[in-house]
Symmetry: C2
Subunit: 307 residues, 2 copies
DNA sequence: TGCATTGTGTAGATTGTCTACATGGACGTG
DNA sequence: CACGTCCATGTAGACAATCTACACAATGCA
């Protein structure tokens, strides 16, 4: 019945513990517990269940939480509407990004938005690409996935595609392959590779190369940080798969990029949001800025390669 | 921001005055006024405007009220969901009907529903067919309209069609036309008519008859109550247009019905609801009962005429 | 000019929600 | 196996929000 309480249930579904909900909503755990108790009494059936020292939702609880999300969406639409009437996007917007996307998009976005809209950015290196979990904490989550791989569909999150970035093969200057216009899977066998940490999405493409070429790649190192990988490549210690638009930032001209043919080699960069937050006017404004900046980046590179 | 306040604004849009809202929500007008004031302060722009001694919404106010309706709908969906979990349609349902529909459908509906679901019925003779106004007061409004005439579309109301009832020409026993299988517009010229009160929907069909036959009908009396009209017809004082399924209730066999050909002569019987109320499980249950009872009535008459 | 009606202020009561603190169970560890 | 930690949940009181009761101003109607 009461929206505040429903919202609390929804937060519990998202965050998994009463204390986390309390922390997120600036309340004491006791207050949260009491409100959930009231909700349960009103509902007339158990919504939560103790499990160990924690608390999990019953199936009824999950169902209610899901419809609570719908309520939150329509409520956010209402406040967005009146923000539009005032021409004033209220509140601040928080955003997490993985490093390369931030480096590529955020400076331009901040310039587009101007000083009126406060955008709080953070970067986070998602070890196991658990991007969706961040949507509880941040309004917008910049995430990347391989094309066709919808790893975060069906969780009830809003997904806005921003751009697709090709993944090229990065070579040191003077490498035997560096005078080629492009390279294929078979060209890459026998090379020493600088790989990414296990579980990173690039790995799928490396596997695809092995599959296509019918041989294993020799992986000398595994790093998570892209700048580190590049410095190894530049130093001649191996070659690596690198995103086209964000490579060679530190030492321009010392890293050679070659398109990879014969394999779908690109990543999707998307914005992930909880649906209610996606309705906020301020959030929508930031998303629009992200989209136009992404288009700008894609365009500027396509004209470069067209030369 | 606050749902309660939004709901108040929505009620104001529906009912048009603070006192009416106060009455409907079991509050004092002062409380309503204060809450609206708070909402306006939060919104940052005027939502209402004085007009005479009353209050009207500004365009911003209307827009907010409309999105408040969406919030109410999703909230109603949530409570309906948990009603389904408990298998218990909560609350009572109120219903208004015009007399003939009530006589035709309600006894059967009450039987279908059984004693668990409280259905509060009332009848109301809608002088100028202002059915939509009743949706503020009642959960379900049974209304009728001529076919094709969507007099209550676009007001944001939920409309559920229940049945279409043919309108026949009612004759006294022994009338010259009473041995015909059907009658056409031209047969009806020169007869004395018992008409309906001005503004009633049947009137359109009488006009259509005049148009088709190219002559005016002589209208000796004008009544609102159908039973009264019928008694006049039976007494041989004239003929009249009467709904097929609900005629001759009082004096069976003394009223002869003839289908009217050459003119679309039927009325739609529909249920009107505010969209949020339409979501309630209890309301949906009643609607289903109405639909099945309406189908039953239609079916039983079609087999009779097939004999 | 009364008189009813409409919306709105003010003061105080009432209700509901939150915090602070204490309790009890579940888990891991020395 | 006792110990500390973590988590959810009770209890009592503080606090905030909302409502009622009443008074008042403005408008429209007889």
């Amino acid at each position: 019945m009461d929206v505040q309480r429903l919202e609390l249930l929804r937060e519990l579904a998202d965050r998994g513990s009463v204390t986390a909900v309390a922390l997120a909503t600036h309340r004491t755990p006791s207050a949260v517990s009491q409100q959930l108790k009231v909700l349960e009494r009103e509902a007339g059936l158990p919504l939560t269940q103790r499990q160990g020292r924690g608390l999990v939702l019953t199936s009824a609880g999950r169902a209610l939480a899901r419809s609570a999300a719908d309520v939150a969406v329509s409520l956010a639409k209402a406040t967005a509407l009146w923000d539009e009437f005032r021409n004033h996007a209220s509140g601040e917007v928080s955003l997490v990004t993985f490093p390369t996307a931030g480096q590529m998009l955020l400076p331009g976005v901040i310039k587009i938005l101007g000083p009126d809209l406060l955008l709080n950015c953070a970067d986070e290196d998602p070890e196991l690409s658990d991007f969706p979990a961040f949507t509880a904490e941040y309004d917008i989550v910049l995430a990347h996935s391989m094309s066709g791989q919808l790893s975060w569909a069906g969780r009830g999150l809003t997904v806005v595609p921003l751009m697709t970035e090709p993944l090229d093969v990065g070579l040191p200057v003077g490498h035997p392959l560096s005078d080629r216009a492009w390279v294929g899977p078979r060209d890459l066998i026998g090379e020493t590779w600088i790989g990414v940490t296990d579980g990173y999405p690039f790995e799928r493409i490396l596997h695809a190369i092995e599959q296509e070429a019918g041989a294993r790649l020799s992986m000398s190192q595994r790093f998570a940080d892209l700048a580190l990988i590049e410095s190894f490549v530049i130093a001649g210690l191996g070659i690596a798969l690198v995103p086209r638009y964000t490579s060679g930032g530190g030492q321009p001209g010392r890293l050679v990029l070659k398109p990879l043919r014969g394999i779908e080699s690109q990543r999707q960069i998307v914005a992930l949001m909880r649906p209610d937050r996606a309705e906020r006017l301020a959030v929508r404004t930031v998303i629009q800025a992200l989209q136009s900046e992404a288009a700008k980046v894609e365009q500027s590179h396509s004209t470069v390669t067209a030369r």
